[in-house]
Every structure is written in structure tokens, then in C-alpha cells.
């Protein structure tokens, strides 16, 4: 089906079902309860981030997972995509199609330039070059190109680029919604499904991002199974042999770099479509680091890993940052008074503003106990069940 093997098609189908049902599955607790406040993730803002960061990490995995080239500057392409999209909103109007097309094109060009320079080196030197070039882009966006009083204010610096009423928006018609839209359908429009005590939100922006996620996932499966993908894996395995087999590695790695840069551009454009502003902090090197963390969490070089990694990271970031001291006191109210205070003080650094610490610890646990990421965890559980059912050796392939 669709030019895919049965196994891959099944995987695509599973992801499609996940995308469609996410607003329901991620809202397991009825509205108004404390559990819903804390653990429900089925609201548009967060689900959009699941899908968009999924796209970003899928693209990153084409570079890092297949060729082994670890780029530490992919957030720069995400940011460039966002800026391009917001400029389209400012100049043309809120139609998202030109915005997304331009963001992919702009990020493609930037990644071509960055890749051309940094792919002259490999290993740690490549990583440092991408990091340096991306930090340069960040600083350009943050200060040099963002001075509101200069005539070339491309990024609006610290404030961030946003749409003002004074902007041209030449294609804007009076009937269009005053928000990014697809053929008049605002990305903010949503339907509430009230079933019992549950409130499910079906949001246009989320489903559009989900559709792009499926498309991105499909393209990545095709690339993984193509001769081009085989060459990229050969680059990771033994570049010397590849060179002495008559193959020029540079264009292969450069194409992989540009493709993953364009994925990042798409993700950046979509972020701007869901919320039409772009800030330089999106390009900061810590954001690039987060992309690396998400792809390692999910499982490097696997198909489904990036989606799992992005989802895991965004979900835990979200709930951990919501837990503050008063929530902790509420949860630990059953403990004796003095002991409760001690416990709250102990847990305090790990939650709320300290969510980085917990996520970092989780990341370390995954690296130490599951070097293959969440996908390896899933495979181990799968094998456990397999062995219980029938005592036959499984013939699963590691590249899921």
C-alpha cells in the first residue's frame, strides 16, 4: 500500500489512528477534577506541540539517525521558518499556504549554506561548526537584524516578530478570519464534544499539524527504505569504504542535511501558523539541544522513535512545570505536618521551574538502561509477551 511494505504501512496506520484519536486518548480524566488539571494533555496548545515537534524530530532523525552526523544547530532552521511564515502573514495576509511554502524554502536555503560549510568536517568538529553557525544566526536575529529603529529590521529583536494592524497584508479580504487560516478555516476554530463529564476539544490547527505529521512520517519511511537511505546508512557505517566504492559522500550528507533543515522549516512555519509570532529564543542553542535529547529519548535511527521522543519530552515538560509548592502540599496533606514540609522542600527542586532537572534525570535513565530509547523499551516489553505466548525465537528486525 502507498508503495510501502506491509510492516511499514501498519506503522503509518497506527500513527494515523493515534493522530485522530489523540484529543480523546490524552484526556482520560473527567473535566474539573484535580487529575484532569494535572495530567490531561488533550488540549489544542499541547497537542499542536506534539505534532509539530514530532515533524521536527522526524526530520532531524533523517540526518542524525541515518548518517550519524550530529547537528547542534537545527533550532536555527526552526526559527528561520517561523520568521519566514510571520513575514508572509505581515505582507500577504493570514493565508497559511504561502507562509508554509516560504518557511520550507527559507530553511532549505539556510541549511544548504550551513551544511555546505560544516559538512567539510565530521564528528565533533561538524557538531561544533553547526553549533557556532546556529548561534551566529541566533545573535543576528536577536540583535543585529532586529533593531526596531533601523531600516532593515527583519526580526524585531527581543520583542519578537508579530503582525500589526499597520502591516500591508495585501491579500487580506474582509471575510477572512483575523488569524492564520486555511481557506477561511481559522487555526483557532474548535469544536467541543461533551460526553458525560468529559470535554474533548477538536481543534483545526491540531488536525492540520497532525496531517503534516503523517505526511512527514510517510516521506521519512520512503527515504529510509530507498537507495538514498541505504547510502546514508552506509555513510554512518564506513565512509572510507563508501569513498573507495566510487561514491561521493558529500552530496549525500548535504542532501540529508537540507532535507532535515526543510523539515525544521515546516515545523517552524506550523508553529507560526498556530500562534503568529516568532522570537529569537526559538533559535537558541538550548532549543537545538532539546531536539537532540528528543531524538535520543525516542530511539535514534528508528522510524517511530522521533514521534515518541517528542511526545514524551513535551508531555513531561508540561506536567512537571505545572506542579508547584501548593500542589505538592495538597498531594502530601496526608503526611504529618513537619514531615510534609520536609518532603515538599525535597521535591521542590525537581518540579515547577526545576522541570529541567527531572527531565534530565529521566534522560540519563533512558541512556543508561535503554540505549535504544523508548523504542527499545517497547521492543523489550514486546519480546517479554512474545516469549510468554510461544517459545519461538522472534525474527523482528531492529529497524522498526
Amino acid at each position: 500500500m502507498l508503495g510501502l511494505e506491509k510492516k511499514d504501512f501498519t506503522l503509518l496506520l497506527i500513527v494515523a489512528v493515534m493522530v485522530v484519536l489523540a484529543p480523546f486518548v490524552l484526556n482520560p480524566f473527567p473535566e474539573g477534577t484535580a487529575m484532569a488539571q494535572m495530567f490531561n494533555a488533550g488540549y489544542p496548545d499541547l497537542m499542536q506541540r506534539f505534532a509539530i515537534f514530532g515533524i521536527l524530530v522526524i526530520g532531524f532523525n533523517i540526518l542524525f539517525g541515518l548518517t550519524g552526523y550530529l547537528s547542534f544547530g537545527h533550532a536555527a532552521f526552526l526559527g528561520a521558518g517561523s520568521y519566514a511564515a510571520v513575514w508572509m502573514f505581515k505582507l500577504l495576509g493570514y493565508d497559511i499556504i504561502p507562509a508554509i511554502l516560504l518557511s520550507i524554502a527559507v530553511s532549505g536555503l539556510f541549511s544548504l549554506a550551513v551544511g555546505y560549510v560544516s559538512l567539510r568536517r565530521s564528528g565533533i568538529y561538524f557538531s561544533i561548526l553547526t553549533l557556532a553557525l546556529a548561534q551566529m544566526m541566533f545573535n543576528m536575529a536577536y540583535s543585529v537584524l532586529g533593531n526596531p529603529s533601523s531600516s532593515y529590521n527583519l526580526t524585531n529583536g527581543e520583542t519578537g516578530l508579530q503582525v500589526y494592524n499597520s502591516d500591508p497584508q495585501v491579500l487580506l479580504s474582509t471575510t477572512d478570519p483575523n488569524f492564520p487560516h486555511l481557506f477561511g478555516l481559522s487555526m483557532r476554530s474548535e469544536t467541543h464534544l461533551l460526553i458525560g463529564n468529559w470535554d474533548f476539544t477538536l481543534n483545526a490547527g491540531y488536525y492540520l499539524s497532525g496531517l503534516f505529521l503523517l505526511l512527514a512520517f510517510y516521506v521519512s519511511i520512503r527515504i529510509f527504505r530507498s537507495p538514498f537511505g541505504l547510502m546514508l546508512r552506509a555513510v554512518k557505517s564506513n565512509q572510507q569504504r563508501l569513498n573507495y566504492t566510487g561514491l561521493n559522500t558529500r552530496p549525500y550528507t548535504l542532501m540529508a542535511f537540507v532535507i532535515s533543515g526543510m523539515y525544521a522549516g515546516l515545523a517552524g512555519g506550523l508553529l507560526a501558523c498556530m500562534d503568529p509570532l516568532a522570537g529569537a529564543e526559538r533559535m537558541h542553542w538550548t532549543a537545538s539541544g532539546e531536539i537532540v535529547i528528543m531524538s535520543i529519548l525516542g530511539g535514534i535511527g528508528t522510524l517511530i522513535g522521533p514521534i515518541l521522543g517528542a511526545g514524551f519530552n513535551e508531555y513531561f515538560k508540561n506536567i512537571l512545570s505545572k506542579i508547584n509548592d501548593s500542589v505538592l502540599h495538597e498531594w502530601l496533606a496526608f503526611l504529618p505536618d513537619g514531615f510534609e514540609d520536609v518532603m515538599v522542600t525535597l521535591i521542590h527542586p525537581f518540579v515547577g521551574k526545576g522541570w529541567h532537572l527531572t527531565l534530565g534525570l529521566l534522560f540519563m535513565m533512558v541512556i543508561i538502561f535503554l540505549p535504544g530509547g523508548l523504542v527499545e523499551g517497547g521492543q523489550r516489553i514486546g519480546k517479554l509477551f512474545h516469549r510468554k505466548k510461544a517459545n519461538t525465537p522472534s525474527d523482528e528486525t531492529p529497524t522498526e
Partner: protein, 252 residues
């Protein structure tokens, strides 16, 4: 005119003259061995032939065209394949995938962007790769991870991958280094079979005299970066200059 003509090649590393005025002519469809004691410049010479090093002076012509200034992949596409001292294969890939890569390189050249076609639909490549594996008696191992092959099988696979490209010149860099006697003999048999059944020129760098004398038709002896003699194996054995290079001045 040989298929490979090396003329007046010099290569200096700082104060060390690694190659001094090397002349070498490898005849088409012959097996030519280059021997010499440690540090004689054998590997330097080989690296000059495949584009890894560029000689300071001199010329290297393959089939009438200069290889100097070309990159390793360009020289490979001209028809020179190299087998390494320690087998260089794609350890993360299966044996079949390993074999498919030279088949792609042969069909599509040094770069092709076929990102949307499935590998399993490339019927001609699959057929070519299976055929090449059968030639090496490795077709039954095609689903194995190539890193888990034995040393001898890795060498076999590497030679098979080079042959799948149908090169005109096969360069072997100490193909039996570090091998057990049985594996060495297997490799000799394999190379003999290649010599007798294919349209190919073989140049081999070797330490092991047993390998050299059972394969080569011409032997060049290199010492301190300069060719001493070029002779047939029969004439090399008792040659005084060769004894001197290997054993020193004193008579044995």
C-alpha cells in the same frame, strides 16, 4: 604500455624520502606483486595510486589517463578497486546490503538522488548483488549482519564487493595479513580463481612470500622507497639484491 604506468614518482614526508623515483609498469591481465621489507614505501605507493596521497613529482597513468589530483571515488569510477589490509565493509549493514552498494555505484555513478524508490523494487540491483554473492559462495549468508562474519568471510565479502563493480584493476593491500594458514590458503585459492576466470589485472602488496610466489607473474621489489628489481618469481628467489634488501649486507 601497461594498464598502470607509474613514472618518476617521488613522495617526501618532512625529512623522510618515502618514495624516490619509482617507476612501475603493470601489464594488463597480469598479477603483479610489490614486495619489500617494512618501511619500503609499499603502502605509500598504493595510496598514491588510489588518490589518498598525491606524489610530489612524477606521473601515475591508468589506462592512458592521469589519476593525479583525482579523489578516491573518481579513481574508483575509472576502474580501480582497492581491498584494504583490514577488511573495510559496512559493519552495520547486512551482507546483502553491503553487496548492493557497489552495484548501485556501478549503475548510478558517484551520486544519485533516488530517495522515493524502494530498495526492494530495484530488481536489477538485487539480481546483480545475489549473483555477486553467489560468486563468492556467500549467498546463504546474505541476511547476516556483516559485522558478525568471520575474518575470512569479511575479506571474501570485501573482495566480492570490489569485483561486483567489474574493475579493470584490483589493488590488494596485504590481503592475508593476520590470517590463519587455512584462511590464507582459501584467499589464495579465491584470488587464483579470480585471476583465471576474469578479465582483470591484479596488483598485490604482500609480506607473505608464500602468497606472492603462488600468485604473481611479475614481482617488483621495493626497498627504501626505490624499486630494486622487477622480475619473474623464479628469478626473484635467488636474486642477490633481494637477499640484501631483506637480510642485510652480511651473507647468510
Amino acid at each position: 604500455m601497461g594498464i598502470l604506468e607509474v613514472k618518476g614518482v617521488n613522495k617526501r614526508f618532512g625529512g623522510l624520502q618515502a618514495l624516490g623515483d619509482v617507476n612501475l609498469s603493470v601489464q594488463e591481465q597480469s598479477v603483479h606483486a610489490i614486495i619489500g621489507p617494512n618501511g619500503a614505501g609499499k603502502s605509500t605507493l598504493l595510496n598514491c595510486l588510489v588518490g589518498k596521497l598525491v606524489p610530489d613529482t612524477g606521473s601515475v597513468m591508468f589506462d592512458g589517463k592521469s589519476v593525479l589530483g583525482r579523489t578516491p571515488y573518481e579513481i574508483n569510477q575509472m576502474g580501480i578497486s582497492r581491498v584494504f589490509q583490514t577488511p573495510e565493509i559496512f559493519g552495520d549493514l547486512t551482507v546483502m546490503e553491503n553487496m548492493m552498494i557497489p552495484c548501485f555505484a556501478k549503475r548510478d555513478g558517484s551520486f544519485s538522488m533516488t530517495a522515493f524508490a524502494a530498495v526492494r523494487n530495484q530488481k536489477d540491483i538485487i539480481e546483480h548483488a545475489i549473483h555477486a554473492l553467489e560468486d563468492m559462495n556467500m549467498a546463504d549468508k546474505r541476511h547476516m549482519h556483516s559485522a558478525s562474519l568471520s575474518r575470512g568471510d569479511k575479506r571474501r565479502l570485501e573482495i566480492g564487493m570490489c569485483l561486483a563493480q567489474e574493475p579493470r584493476l584490483l589493488l590488494l593491500d596485504e590481503p592475508t595479513a593476520g590470517m590463519a594458514r587455512a584462511d590464507t590458503n582459501n584467499t589464495i585459492d579465491l584470488l587464483k580463481q579470480i585471476r583465471d576466470t576474469r578479465d582483470i589485472t591484479i596488483a598485490i602488496i604482500e609480506h607473505d612470500m608464500h602468497v606472492v610466489f603462488s600468485l604473481a607473474e611479475r614481482i617488483t621489489v621495493l626497498a627504501q622507497g626505490t624499486p630494486l628489481v622487477e622480475e619473474t618469481p623464479e628469478n626473484i628467489k635467488g636474486h642477490p639484491k633481494v637477499r640484501e634488501a631483506y637480510l642485510g649486507e652480511a651473507q647468510v
